[in-house]
């Protein structure tokens, strides 16, 4: 199954490269995404299918990430068809090839059980997604792509060094030199401490760069700001989740090596720094997409803080990966529609989105309430579970700091969002009628929103079991 999930999208990407028609090519996206989704579900329900050898198998955290990113990609692919048809002036061959190939590398990240292979897969996602940022071919998008490529490559190179250090930690301790995840986990208590510490720092920097944790986040507002909304959704929901999975595996190894306390301190520092940076830059942010980029930085911070708190917050953290991923899909896709209708993403021009675009505007507003942790949406449950974890672990200071930052973000983000959706639509925009809400561009957003709402009201039993499995797997109980 692993090979199928990795090779099938590659094949589709190859076909996309061969198709000449700019008009029909976008249809390949759902054609690739729907069978991939089917394979994901099949692998999830049939235990036999989740194993393709020692290096490629789905463990509970891998299953979670594969599931959620597949869902996000499916909705994005449905949205992409009308989007790319609307933007038929732009050649979309490279864009579609890279989008579909991302599905392949993403699958590899979730299946891989070898730290070296995980690194290769994450680096591949970096490279395959760089052309996506460049879709608009403007000077700004070149600048954003360059920053992403340079910062991302240097960051991910640190992760490679960290992976090597991890292997050296076994070598130095006289163990078998391997980067096989299961073997390292088994040997973890005997690993050389100093090399493990160094490895963790480098891996945190490396995968943290891809997640967009402060202070390695500088590429993120530029990349998210200059790329189409759909790319933002793939980045903020997909790539960050994949990088988080890689970090999760490293965290797991360190905890198994009884280094939880050391790791937790670093994670908390980076997490709070990210949240604080995001909160600060979100205040008076006038650019909607950049605002969402900072929101993504904030939520990566929340995830890392959740890990830092430890086992009591683990359920919430894993749930938050899912809720964040889906909500980011809602936000970026709806902001993509707003951007197109207004021809701008700056709130100097974007006003009265609720009137001009009743569907996208209201989804954007609801997405804002969801992502800032208002009930009854999914992120409320997961953010609350993390808070609960902090208090039950008797980390009151961390819990209250986290709460204060959440509040700050709510205020900062709220001011920008409200001024975009309320008020009167500028006359210049109403006259032009570049783009109006339609069901085809709206339905994927509605679908994602429905899932976000569902997770806030009720977590389906299979998902709850999967989350509990993952918590048990990582918590070592």
């Amino acid at each position: 199954m692993a090979y199928l999930q990795i090779l099938f999208p590659l094949l589709m990407a190859g076909i996309a490269a061969l198709i000449k028609s700019n008009k029909w090519r976008p249809l390949l996206l759902p054609v690739a995404a729907i069978p991939h989704m089917g394979m994901t579900l099949y692998a999830l329900v049939t235990p036999k299918m989740a194993y393709t050898g020692e290096w490629l198998q789905l463990d509970p955290p891998g299953k979670l990430i594969l599931l959620v990113v597949s869902i996000l990609f499916l909705f994005c692919s449905l949205y992409a068809v009308p989007y790319l048809m609307h933007r038929k002036e732009r050649p979309n061959r490279l864009f579609i090839v890279c989008m579909i190939a991302f599905l392949s590398t993403m699958s590899l990240v979730t299946w891989a059980q070898h730290l070296g292979l995980i690194w290769v897969a994450i680096e591949a996602t970096t490279l395959i997604t760089a052309p996506l940022i460049y879709f608009n071919h403007t000077q700004f998008s070149i600048e954003a792509t360059w920053k992403y490529l340079l910062i991302g490559s240097v960051g991910i190179a640190m992760a490679l060094l960290g992976t090597f250090f991890m292997a050296y930690a076994s070598l130095h301790a006289g163990l078998d030199v391997t980067l096989n995840y299961a073997t390292i986990l088994k040997n973890a208590p005997h690993l050389s401490k100093i090399w493990l510490h160094l490895a963790f720092i480098l891996l945190l920097v490396g995968y943290g760069t891809k997640m967009g944790l402060a202070p390695m986040h500088t590429w993120k507002p530029d990349a998210y700001g200059e790329s189409p909304g759909i790319v933002g959704a793939i980045f903020a929901g997909g790539i960050t989740s994949c990088a988080f999975l890689a970090l999760l595996r490293i965290y797991h190894i360190c905890c198994a090596a009884n280094e939880g306390a050391y790791v937790s301190k670093l994670l908390l520092v980076v997490g709070f720094l990210s949240m604080a940076t995001a909160a600060l830059f979100m205040i008076r942010q006038r650019d909607l997409k950049r605002m969402l980029a900072y929101s993504s930085i904030e939520h990566m911070g929340i995830l890392v803080i959740g890990l830092g708190i430890g086992v009591p917050a683990l359920f919430g953290t894993l749930l938050h990966v899912i809720t964040n991923c889906l909500t980011k899909g809602v936000l970026f896709l709806s902001v993509g529609n707003i951007h197109r209708a207004y021809g701008s993403k700056n709130i100097d021009h974007v006003q009265g989105a609720l009137r001009l675009l009743p569907l996208s505007g209201s989804m954007f507003l609801l997405g804002f309430f969801a992502i800032t942790g208002s009930p009854p949406f999914g992120p409320f449950i997961s953010e609350f579970a993390i808070l609960n974890g902090a208090f039950s672990a008797q980390k009151y200071l961390i819990g209250s700091g986290y709460l204060a930052l959440l509040l700050l973000v709510f205020i900062g983000m709220g001011a920008t969002v409200l001024s975009a959706v309320q008020g009167k639509t500028p006359a210049s925009v109403t006259e032009k009628k570049i783009f109006r809400d339609g069901l085809i561009t709206g339905a994927p957003i509605l679908g994602l929103m429905a899932l976000v709402l569902l997770l806030g009201v009720y977590i389906p039993a299979p998902l709850r079991d999967l989350l509990n499995d993952a918590v048990r797997f990582l918590g070592g109980q």
């Binding site: 070296g116 600048e143 190179a157 980067l179 530029d222």
Partner: protein, 213 residues
Amino acid sequence: MTNILNAILVIILVLNLFTLGTSRILTVIRIVAIQGFLLGFLPLLAHNHFSLASILIVLTTMILKAFVIPSMMSQALRDAQIKREFEPLIGILPSIILGALATVFALLFTSHIPLAQEHTGTLIVPSSIATILIGFIIVTTRFKALSQVIGYLILENGIFIFGLLLMGAMPMIVEMGVLLDLFVAIFVSCIIISKINKSFSSMDTRILSSLKE
């Protein structure tokens, strides 16, 4: 074997300093190509064993690092019609001194972390760390986009040197994956550089500063 290994590592360290010491970008590309060629030999010297897999990796490394990547970069350089790195953030002489300090730091650092018995006699760890640091120096202090890519390549070379300690931990497929990723990274960067060059008529990354708060 260890002596030859160390000798090559010393040459690599000296080449690092040369890259800092010249502003002609074509010369830097050539130096890095030589460095890549020498790096290719190291796995054979470090392990004394010649399996088919290891020879395949050695050959791929050499072809990629000594020929393919440098020729891609010199092509990008020709297209851009520039020759030199003007006004780096810090001048040529100070950056050589900085590079030398980085090398000393790497040696000191290595003497403070515990190494496995069989690795204490070689220069692998210090030269790896020194090369990585020098890669960093180039990425951060040079402003031409191509120079930054060269810095990244040197940084990768440093990591490659560290990888010599771990033959066996990285199965061949993963090693090949790493090399493929490196190749694609440089390839994509070169394309973006040519785009930068086309739309800004310059390769200076200081002009890439319109996106900020």
